[in-house]
């Protein structure tokens, strides 16, 4: 009797099904129950007084036999809500004009300027193929496309891994390349030019591009039956248009005049960042199995040519309450220094620097995340397959930042780093057939 290739590949599953039939029991869950496994997720991200993001995701993995896998990742997201422009508060009312020059947002005195009509949609598809090359090597390669209203991205990457020492040690090295094209609504504004009061920029181009070349070198090491260590070094070199065309910098009055109080913004200019940046990170992660529970501790140190240095500490503890239910508290601490060209604002008395950005993400700040995840196994129902349902709640805050140079006059009354407080809800269901 001849078997098809597929049946041969599924020998173990076939035997399991028939041994369970023999014993009159339900086949217990096996890692690969079918050719396809799915992981589906929906993310709700909501900032207090800020943006709201809805993001559905699907990760589909196909067992192609011979230990090869195809993974497809499809993501969509919708983002709406007020976004900080980078401008500073004023003692008077301000008006923020969107990039299209049509919609304006009135900003009350003392409030941080935001663009209320910020809206973006994104769709992305990524495919990865993973296959063994002989007994010791494995190659993963893939590519992806991401499309937004004003942004297109193409990416490709390849990672080669080799195992040593009875597969207790794995060394991997990979390269990635990403090409992005930025097509601002209303065109690319002239960097450092004054933002026109009533909108309607005079664009210097329709689009700009950037590319990112990356290298990743990693080691994973099995320490013992319960302990796994991962270490990565990554390098990424970006070049091209690295500005965010939405972001502006306020130029404030360094002296009070009849019309303007000391520290009040006089006008805004478009930011300008260097056209190259290289980033490096070292990442260390431990996964430890502790009597049924899993401790996951990670640390990352990052440094780049823009002067940002950061430390990240992550802690997760998967606490198995029973065979079918787990709780996972999650903590994360992140701290970064400011980019050398970061300024909360500029004084009208100082010469215009070559590079300046008031994007809070380039400022010094501390990010803290506290989260809790609940997971439970779900039995097969009338219309849903058996799987794992996970719900995660997270709270993320950013605090810090100040710029003594512009903390003058009326600005002393205002919060210069408005901070960020976001709530994150993610629901996930992973299943196979």
């Amino acid at each position: 009797m001849q078997l098809t290739r597929k049946q041969r590949r599924r020998l173990r599953k076939t035997l399991l099904a028939s041994s369970c039939a023999l014993l009159g029991v339900m086949p217990s869950a096996m890692a690969d129950k079918g050719d396809w496994t799915f992981d589906t997720s929906a993310l709700f991200y909501s900032e207090v007084g800020g943006i709201l993001v809805l993001e559905p995701m699907i990760l589909a993995k196909q067992d192609r036999g011979d230990d090869s896998y195809l993974t497809l990742n499809i993501v969509g997201d919708v983002l709406t809500g007020p976004t900080p422009t980078g401008g500073m508060p004023s003692s008077k009312s301000q008006t923020v004009t969107g990039p299209s020059g049509k919609k304006t947002t009135a900003i009350a005195p003392g409030q941080t300027p935001v663009n209320k009509y910020f809206k973006d949609t994104r769709g992305a598809v990524k495919a990865t193929w993973s296959q063994p090359l002989g007994d010791l090597w494995r190659l993963d390669w893939g590519g992806g496309v991401s499309l937004e209203d004003d942004f297109k991205s193409l990416a490709a990457n390849a990672l080669l891994a080799r195992s040593f020492n009875e597969q207790n040690t794995t060394l991997s090295g990979g390269l990635s390349y990403e090409y992005d094209s930025i097509n601002p609504i209303g065109g690319v504004p002239q960097p450092l030019s004054v933002v026109p009061a009533a909108g309607g920029t005079s664009p210097v181009a329709h689009s700009r591009s950037k590319n990112i070349k990356g290298v990743l070198i990693g080691v994973t090491q099995v320490m013992n039956q319960n302990w796994l260590v991962q270490m990565n070094f990554s390098y990424g070199a970006s070049s091209g248009y690295l500005n965010n065309y939405y972001k502006q910098v306020s130029v404030i009055a360094s002296q009070a005049t009849a019309q303007t109080a000391l520290g009040d913004p006089l006008y805004q200019i478009y930011e300008n960042r260097p056209s190259t940046r290289s980033q490096r990170t070292i990442y260390l992660r431990n996964k430890v199995y502790l009597d049924g529970n899993v401790l996951d501790i990670s640390y990352r140190y990052g440094w780049d040519t823009w002067g940002i240095r950061s430390n990240t500490l992550g802690l997760r503890y998967r606490w198995a309450l029973s065979d079918h239910f787990f709780l996972e508290p999650q903590l994360r601490y992140y701290r970064q220094s400011a980019a050398y060209f970061y300024r909360r604002g500029l004084l009208n008395s100082e010469p215009l620097p070559a590079f300046v950005s008031a994007d809070y993400r380039l400022d010094a700040f501390t990010g803290r995340t506290i989260g809790l995840e609940f997971g439970t196994h779900v039995s097969k129902g009338s219309w849903w397959p058996a799987g794992t349902l996970t719900l995660r709640l997270e709270h993320y805050t950013q605090t810090g930042g100040s710029d003594p140079q512009v903390n003058i006059g009326v600005q002393q009354n205002f919060s210069l780093f408005p901070g960020l407080s976001a709530n994150i809800v993610q629901v996930d269901y992973s299943f196979g057939f």
Binding site: S41, L59, D120, R122, G302, Q336
Partner: protein, 74 residues
């Protein structure tokens, strides 16, 4: 039929053979490491969402793998 079984010694009481001198485990000791929750890529979409959020909100990104990027949010 085709088979003899070798004598097996059952060690019932908890006499753990305490840690071996070198790093790593033998293939038959991978039971725990093979658990899905011990995978470095357990819950891939949870990890991906974290990477994506922090990519959009912080100055340093990546480090764990090649994910992240592909977004005009930075």
């Amino acid at each position: 039929m085709f088979k003899t079984t070798l004598a097996l010694v059952i060690i019932g009481a908890g006499s753990l053979l305490s840690g071996c001198s070198s790093l790593g485990v033998r293939p038959w000791q991978r039971g725990i490491l093979a658990k899905p929750e011990m995978s470095l890529n357990a819950q891939p979409l949870m990890l991906a969402v974290d990477d994506h959020i922090y990519f959009a909100k912080e100055g340093t990104s990546g480090g764990r793998d090649f994910s992240g990027g592909g977004c005009g949010c930075n």
